[in-house]
Symmetry: C2
Subunit: 156 residues, 2 copies
C-alpha cells in the first residue's frame, strides 16, 4: 500500500528560524550549513564539540563538508546565536547548541580527560553584571571556567 503523496504545495514548509534569519541578511541557505546545525540539534545541548570533531562526525556519517567551511559556519552560527563558543584553553575552542532552557550555564572541565560538566549559578551572573556596571562597561557575556580533575582522573 502506497502512502498518498503530499501535494507539492505543502512541501513549501515555513523556513526555519535559521533560514529566515539568513535570508533577511542577504545570506543563503546551503546544504553545508544545514548539516552543521542539524548535527548540533541531533546530539542535543550539553555537548561541546571542536571544529575538528564536527568535521569528523560529518565525514563519518557520509556528509562531506570541508573544514574551512565548518569554521566559517561555526563562526556564523555563533554570530547568529544558534551556537555558543567556549574558550577552553586546551585543544581548540568548542561549540555547543545554545539552549534556551539553560542560557547562562558555566563549565567544570577535567583538564586531564576533557570531561565537561555544566552548572548554573545566579551569583556568577550577578557578579559579572556588578563588575560591568561598576566600571561602566557594557556586558556581552560572562563565562566561568572551573578547571579541575574528575573523579576518574583524580585518583592517579
Amino acid at each position: 500500500m502506497k502512502l498518498k503523496l503530499i501535494s507539492p504545495a505543502s512541501y513549501r514548509t515555513h523556513p526555519s528560524p535559521f533560514e529566515s534569519d539568513l535570508r533577511s541578511d542577504g545570506k543563503r541557505m546551503t546544504p553545508q550549513r544545514k548539516k552543521v546545525l542539524s548535527l548540533f540539534e541531533e546530539i542535543g545541548s550539553g555537548i561541546h564539540l571542536s571544529a575538528e570533531e564536527v568535521h569528523s562526525k560529518l565525514t563519518i556519517s557520509g556528509e562531506k563538508v570541508s573544514l574551512a567551511t565548518i569554521y566559517r559556519t561555526l563562526r556564523l552560527l555563533v554570530k547568529m546565536t544558534f551556537l555558543n563558543e567556549l574558550d577552553l584553553s586546551e585543544g581548540g575552542n568548542r561549540f555547543e547548541l545554545l539552549s534556551h532552557d539553560h542560557p547562562d550555564h558555566h563549565h567544570l572541565i577535567c583538564i586531564r580527560c576533557g570531561r565537561t560538566e555544566e552548572f548554573e549559578n545566579n551569583n556568577v551572573i550577578n557578579a559579572g553584571k556588578a563588575a560591568a556596571k561598576n566600571f561602566g562597561f557594557k556586558l556581552l557575556e560572562s563565562s566561568l571556567n572551573v578547571r579541575a580533575l574528575c573523579p576518574k582522573c583524580s585518583n592517579k
Copy 2:
C-alpha cells in the same frame, strides 16, 4: 673622591625566594629568568602581558632574551606560582604577577581595545567550589572572564 668598596663577603646576599625555590629543585638561576620576573615585579600587579609583549619590553630596554626562553620562563613561573596565566580568547594568553593581596580576582575585558579590569567576588569562588564538590571533581582553579565593551569603545 672614591667610594669605599664594600667587602666581597657582603655581596653574598641571601637568595631570593625565586632563587631558592629553583635551587631546591635542581634548577638554576639565570640572567634571563631574573629579567623576566623583574619585569613583572617592576610594572607591578594588575598588568597582563602576553609572551610577545614581555619579549618586546625586554628587547626595548636593551635586554635580549629569546622568545623561546620567554615562553619557557613564563611556563616555569606559572608552575612556581609567581605568575598567573589568563586564558583570554583573543590574541594569546596573558600573564600577571600573582598578587598575595588579590589572589582570586577575576577579569572584565573590553573585547574591542583589550582594556582589562580586575574585580573580586567571593560568590564566584564559592560557585566554583560548589560545582566541583557537586560532581566529585577536585578543583584546581576557577576563572570568570567577563567579555564586555568599555565606555570608550561602547559609544561607537
